[in-house]
């Protein structure tokens, strides 16, 4: 490839449509790095979302930003997920890339609103500032005032995760001078009145995250809001609804018929009747995120109203291990029956049955993502008390395009046999409290040809499974195993057989000193994370992480 002039190479690559192919290609040659325009980096393992990865594990953004600042000043977009980003890093980012246009941070932490102030101040051509579900330290509202008057390029601004107050006047000024704004997501501190004023300046808005919609406002405020919303003819997607009172619901009605996306999953103050009154009017809905207070009955309303539904997420409102949920298999069966286009599902529920899953699989063969979380671990079929092997078996058999699967409930090795046999396009599999023996994991490793990410917790898979197909891990992005039966010895063997892998083990309970003293012992490893590397062991691992 280096024999061709760069222009030819670039031309060839422009035909590569998929990100994964481009990713692969970019790994090949350092020469192409300086021309980097868009960089996407993901840090911690997925299970870090659920507090399974100890703090200070790693995923620091600084080295990436520093390297980019040295080597590719043409950087325009930086997207980071599950990384630790500092204010210093944000400042460096803001000052280093004159053409910088877009910053997307998802589930990151370590920075404050002061870092955002630097981004606002120095990124003259900023089009996108998208902060999704980050843990941001609040150091005051100054950052929003830092956008210079010359900055009129904003297309997307999402600060819903900012916890603190926001200066309404600054926000209104910013919106007023951003004629290209298509997506705006506000935080809890923004009042109904401010929202109404803002919406007078955003006739092209397609996506809105509201501020708070409590009942502390007078009816006149809500009437103004309705008027303002009616001006947004392009508005298709709605979220926010912080602390929303049922009073606010009717004022949203005029918008409902045009919505394709609706996120009500942060609003425990709306109950099933409030929710269904709104959703039954959303006949064009394609994407719906709700809480389980919608109940099965409410899901039936969704099923009869939202025929175009493609993505559904039902989140729990009770976070206890075996908490109550008003949602069961019945709601999902109703959805599958009414919404045959459903392709992406995240469903927390109280119980499930094999019959229901079999029905769902037949009704919706187009699932690409199917994530089912029965709140109580190892819960069997609610009618027959049997494991849910057959139900999930039906899902993988019928849904031939399935790429992501999360399973739960009582499950034996049999379900893994089905997964290995049928889930040929599966890329990501999440397992918790499932299986009987090493055979289960082996079925998956041997059968799922396209597997990229495998994450397992609290399941009886041990060294036999870990070492049963070690070459497989080089074709995968990562393997996570926690509270399983793998031992230190098994991990050591894996590390010695596969030098191209980083085998990280984490034992929080003074495990590291024990490991030094008793090499090769059979003590269980609490957490294991295995991933490919071209650079050997990382240098920023904390004490509790041992890289074998």
């Amino acid at each position: 490839m280096t024999y061709f002039p760069e222009e030819v190479v670039e031309h060839i690559f422009s035909f590569l449509p998929s990100h994964s192919d481009r990713n692969t290609v970019s790994l090949v040659c350092k020469v192409w790095f300086p021309k980097l325009r868009v960089l996407t980096v993901k840090g911690k393992p997925h299970f870090a979302d659920f507090n399974l990865v100890p703090p200070d594990w790693g995923g620091y953004a600084a080295p990436w930003i520093e390297a980019a600042a040295r080597g590719c000043v043409g950087l325009e977009e930086l997207r980071m997920k599950r990384m630790v980003v500092s204010d210093e890093g944000l400042e460096l980012l803001a000052r280093s890339f004159p053409r910088f246009k877009a910053l997307v941070l998802i589930s990151c932490e370590g920075f404050s609103t002061e870092g955002l102030a630097d981004i606002a101040s120095h990124c003259k051509f900023l089009r996108e500032l998208d902060l999704q579900e980050n843990d941001v330290e609040d150091r005051g509202p100054r950052w929003l005032s830092c956008f210079p008057d010359s900055c009129t390029s904003l297309v997307s601004l999402n600060f819903a995760c900012i916890k603190g107050e926001v200066d309404s006047a600054s926000l209104e000024r910013l919106v007023a001078k951003s004629p290209n704004l298509r997506s705006l997501r506000l935080n809890r501190a923004v009042s109904v009145d401010t929202l109404s004023k803002i919406l007078m300046h955003t006739p092209n808005l397609e996506d809105l995250g509201t501020g708070n919609l409590t009942d502390e406002f007078q009816t006149e405020s809500y009437l103004r809001l309705t008027n303002a919303l009616e001006k947004c003819k392009m508005l298709k997607s709605l979220s926010g609804f912080w602390d929303a009172s049922p009073v606010c619901v009717p004022f949203i009605y005029p918008l409902c018929h045009q919505l394709t996306g609706l996120n009500l999953s942060y609003t425990p103050t709306l109950d099933y009747s409030d929710l269904t009154r709104m959703i039954s009017r959303c006949v064009k809905l394609q994407r719906l995120w709700v809480l389980d207070c919608i109940s099965d009955k409410g899901l039936q309303v969704v099923a009869s109203s939202c025929k175009d539904l493609q993505e559904l997420r039902v989140f729990p409102s009770d976070f206890y291990v075996a908490g109550y949920s008003a949602v069961t298999e019945e709601g999902l069966v109703a959805i599958s029956s009414g919404c045959p286009k459903l392709s992406s599902l995240l469903y927390f529920c109280h119980q499930m049955t094999n019959d229901a899953l079999i029905t769902i699989a037949k009704n919706c063969p187009n699932f690409i993502r199917f994530r089912l979380c029965i709140l109580e671990p190892r819960k069997p079929d609610a009618m027959t008390n049997q494991p849910l092997d057959e139900g999930f078996g039906a899902i993988v058999r019928e849904c031939k395009g399935l790429r992501r699967l999360s399973i739960s409930g009582l499950l034996t090795d049999k379900v893994f046999m089905y997964i290995g046999k049928y889930a040929k396009h599966l890329e990501m599999l999440s397992i918790a409290f499932a299986g009987d023996s090493d055979d289960g994991m082996m079925h998956v490793l041997n059968g799922c040809k396209n597997l990229r990410k495998l994450e397992i917790r609290d399941s009886p898979f041990g060294d036999g499974a870990l070492l049963g197909n070690v070459a497989k891990y080089e074709t995968m992005r990562s393997l996570w195993m926690s509270s399983c039966n793998v031992t230190l010895k098994g991990c050591e063997i894996l590390a010695s057989k596969m030098p191209m892998l980083n085998v990280e083990i984490m034992n929080e309970l003074d495990g590291s000193s024990e490991m030094e003293e008793n090499p090769g012992d059979f003590s269980k490893v609490e957490k294991l994370y295995v991933y490919r590397t071209t650079a050997g062991a990382r240098g920023d691992a904390p004490n509790f992480v041992k890289i074998l």
Partner: protein, 222 residues
């Protein structure tokens, strides 16, 4: 949990005087074939609910007629296990809910009395205030009543009739309905069993449900 209520008032309409036996919600297996729960909570349920809830599931779904675990009043609170990272919900989401419940609690402390837009919109705080939501099956909008305004069940019944019967198309007769309420434990109760003051202090929301849905609930099934 059988509730036969006799009233001194022996009027023809029998809104609350009823032989209906009321059990837990969702145990009716009539045409609506809902084995799930008629009063979906908008806030986390109490511990008691879990212990009995599974029993309800077994009773209806597995059609085991005799399930004595459903005595809600006697069920002791079940200690909920804490497992790290389960259910798999992002900390961000959990912290948002924490903020939400903090707001609700601070609202409850600065309660206002009778405003058109009442602060007592959430079921956790309604017991502190006196406005409770009233829903009626088939009616598109809910109403609110201030329980402090009524001296007893009869006045409450009259007020509800005025709200719902006269405002709808009039074809509904309140004798076809049973008035139930959700108490602060989250349980669905038949109105009229306890002294009015006790009812008013524990009632979180009212629900007027069709008799047919309420029929067959309760201890008769056990």
């Amino acid at each position: 949990m059988e509730a036969t209520v006799a009233y001194a008032k022996a009027e023809a309409e029998n809104l609350m005087a009823t032989e209906l036996r009321l059990g837990l919600p969702g145990t009716a297996d009539d045409e609506q074939s809902q084995t799930t729960k008629a009063t979906p909570p908008s806030t986390p349920r109490g511990k008691k609910r879990t212990a009995t809830f599974d029993a309800v599931e077994d009773a209806t779904v597995a059609e085991e007629a005799n399930n004595n675990k459903r005595d809600v009043e006697a069920a002791p609170p079940v200690a909920k296990a804490q497992v790290v990272g389960w259910p798999p919900v992002r900390s961000y989401r959990k912290s948002c809910f924490q903020q939400a419940s903090n707001k609700q609690q601070s609202k409850a402390t600065k309660e206002e009395a009778a405003t058109p837009v009442s602060n007592t919109t959430t079921s956790t705080t309604a017991a502190n205030g006196s406005f409770v939501k009233v829903s009626m099956d088939g009616a598109p909008y809910l109403r609110k009543v201030d329980l402090r305004m009524y001296k007893g069940y009869r006045e409450l019944r009259e007020a509800l009739e005025a709200m719902f019967v006269s405002s709808n198309n009039g074809s509904a007769n309140l004798s076809e309905f049973a008035v139930t309420y959700e108490d602060k434990d989250g349980d669905l109760m038949l109105v009229g069993d306890v002294p009015f003051e006790m009812f008013a202090s524990t009632c979180k929301k009212l629900r007027i449900m069709k008799r047919s849905e309420a029929t067959g609930l309760g201890s008769a099934r056990q």
